[in-house]
């Protein structure tokens, strides 16, 4: 019995190491002064951090990604919230068609979707622009945002709105003071997810970026292919730091269980 539990916990720790090791290696490698990525680094230096933070290429890509992710998150959260509101509360003709359309991108391989979007964006001259990527990302992100919002709204007790109305509260006030506080966690979760997914997206973006407009993940990808400098490790480390801060803030606001839970469709 004791040996079994010992083996089991050893296995558990081994799995943890296995998951964390590449991350640790990237972080350590980012402090290398060498021209090429190597592990362990010959000595420690902040050279590549200086390089990255002083490069308008990297900062530009980072800025584009942030702006894009923010626009995508705002638009999809708003649109999916309205859609979820209608589908959870009203019966209407074409309801299941609407639900299917919103979730259809899940069924298509991202690369196939990107090809289709490329054809579209070339038509409307949107390739390599913020607007073009915004359209593409909104479509890709929508299914991930729609589900948690529907779940959040389904759990909401409509009796609370009725009660507020019997207490003399008109619909807008009821929405602001009763409905919104109750579904705020779902909204924050939806926003955070669409932000992260858009910020991370590379498969479709590769097809759609242009000479003058690229996103951070796409730039990382192309840099790895051309010259793998420790700059990439430095960028990755910075991104991890950023993501961790972001997730910490969100989980403080709504609880981490909820963030993870809603992604797996609970």
């Amino acid at each position: 019995m004791r040996t079994r539990s010992l083996v089991l916990s050893l296995f558990g720790y081994a799995a943890l190491v296995f998951i964390l090791a590449p991350i640790v290696i990237v972080v350590i490698a980012s402090f290398s002064p060498a021209r090429y990525m190597e592990f362990p680094p010959p000595s420690l230096s902040l050279r590549w951090y200086r390089e990255v933070l002083g490069s308008s290429d990297w900062l530009g890509a980072f800025g584009s990604s942030i702006v894009l992710a923010f626009c995508v998150a705002t638009a999809t959260t708003a649109a999916c919230f309205l859609a979820a509101l209608v589908t959870t509360r009203r019966r209407f003709v074409g309801k299941s068609l609407l639900e299917m359309l919103v979730q259809a991108p899940l069924l298509l391989p991202n690369a196939a979707l990107a090809m289709a979007l490329l054809a579209l964006l070339v038509q409307i001259k949107g390739r390599g622009t913020l607007g073009g990527l915004w359209i593409a990302h909104c479509i890709l992100v929508m299914p991930f945002v729609y589900r948690p919002l529907v779940n959040g709204l389904r759990q909401f007790d409509l009796g609370l709105e009725e009660a507020a109305m019997t207490l003399g509260s008109p619909p807008l006030r009821t929405f602001r003071l009763i409905t919104l506080p109750a579904i705020k966690p779902s909204l924050i979760t939806a926003f955070a997810f669409s932000f992260i997914i858009s910020f991370d997206e590379v498969t479709a973006s590769v097809f759609l970026v242009g000479v003058n407009y690229t996103t951070l993940p796409v730039k990382i990808l192309s840099d790895i292919q051309s010259d793998a400098t420790p700059a990439i490790a430095a960028v990755s480390t910075l991104l991890m730091l950023l993501t961790m801060t972001f997730v910490t803030i969100v989980s403080r606001m709504v609880g981490i269980g909820r963030v993870i839970g809603s992604r797996s469709g609970h």
Binding site: G159, L160, M165, T166, G168, S169, P170, P171, A182
Partner: protein
Amino acid sequence: MPEVVVHAKAVEKKYRDVAAVRGVDLEVFRGEFLTLLGPSGCGKTTLLRMIVGFEQPTTGRIVIDGRDVTEVPTYRRPIGMVLQNLALFPHMNVQENITFGLLTRGERKSAALQKATQMLSLVGLAGFGHRLIHELSGGQKQRVALARSIVLEPSVLLLDEPLGALDLKLRQQMQGELKRIQRQVGITFIFVTHDQEEALTMSDRIVVMNAGRIEQIGAPQEIYDHPETMFVASFVGDTNVFAGRAIATAGARVSVELPALGQTVEVQGRGITPGMAVNVMIRPEFVALDDQPGAPCSGQVTDRTFVGADIRYSVTVGNQNLEARRPHRPEDRMLAPSATSGVTIDWANGIAFPSAA
């Protein structure tokens, strides 16, 4: 003539082709405790929701305080409501729940807080203002829901089976509390329940509903002693029913032949003509079991239930099953199951109704 607070005029509600409420006319008087009683699906909750304004009548009007509110949205009607699941706002504490309506109305915060404090002591929750909703027991939640509505002094307060979720003891306690609070604040209550005992103990008047219609309106005792339809007789209180045929009528009395007992008895009955097929109802307390000789018929005890103050017997007379009830006294001898006993029925308290067929 008492003042009418709520007047439902020829109200009908249809969902597609199914009528949930059919041609209901109802006047509710200022300050009374009125109960809508009926089985689930009888339309009582639909009627309530139309008075509140959650549902629109298909035809007919709703008048509150002399004003036609049929087209007026819920939040502009002078009503309050305690919902079945109470629907307390989970993200607010007790005090915030109670002041919500006052602040919505534009009252000053200090005035609202003062009223909330008064309300809390009225419902017996003084000092609970800062509690969170999930920290309250079932009974305490009831009180908060009540306080939240009463503080707005509505013309009428509607309660949709609010005691349904409580256990028996707490339920009885809350029934008394509700009644006390209602008398104290003098607000008109319309209470919906399917529990006839609850209706009998709490109401000034009861409206018995069935299949979307009102069967009878009356004081609890009137409903119990003088049911106007077979449905009311069997839904309110326990009842024995005999099938028979009317032989002769004289004013409000009818002679009925009962094949099951081989007897002809004289009971109450209106609107019955000789020859009509009727059902005769008699309450278990009018069926006496005794060993005295000279009882008009005899029966066999099939079951006995001791409920403390009463003993309930099931007796078979001929091929008819009968429920009898008698007050329990320690010195009385209880009848054993399968014992044979004389059966005496006080037919003067029987009522004949034309049978539905």
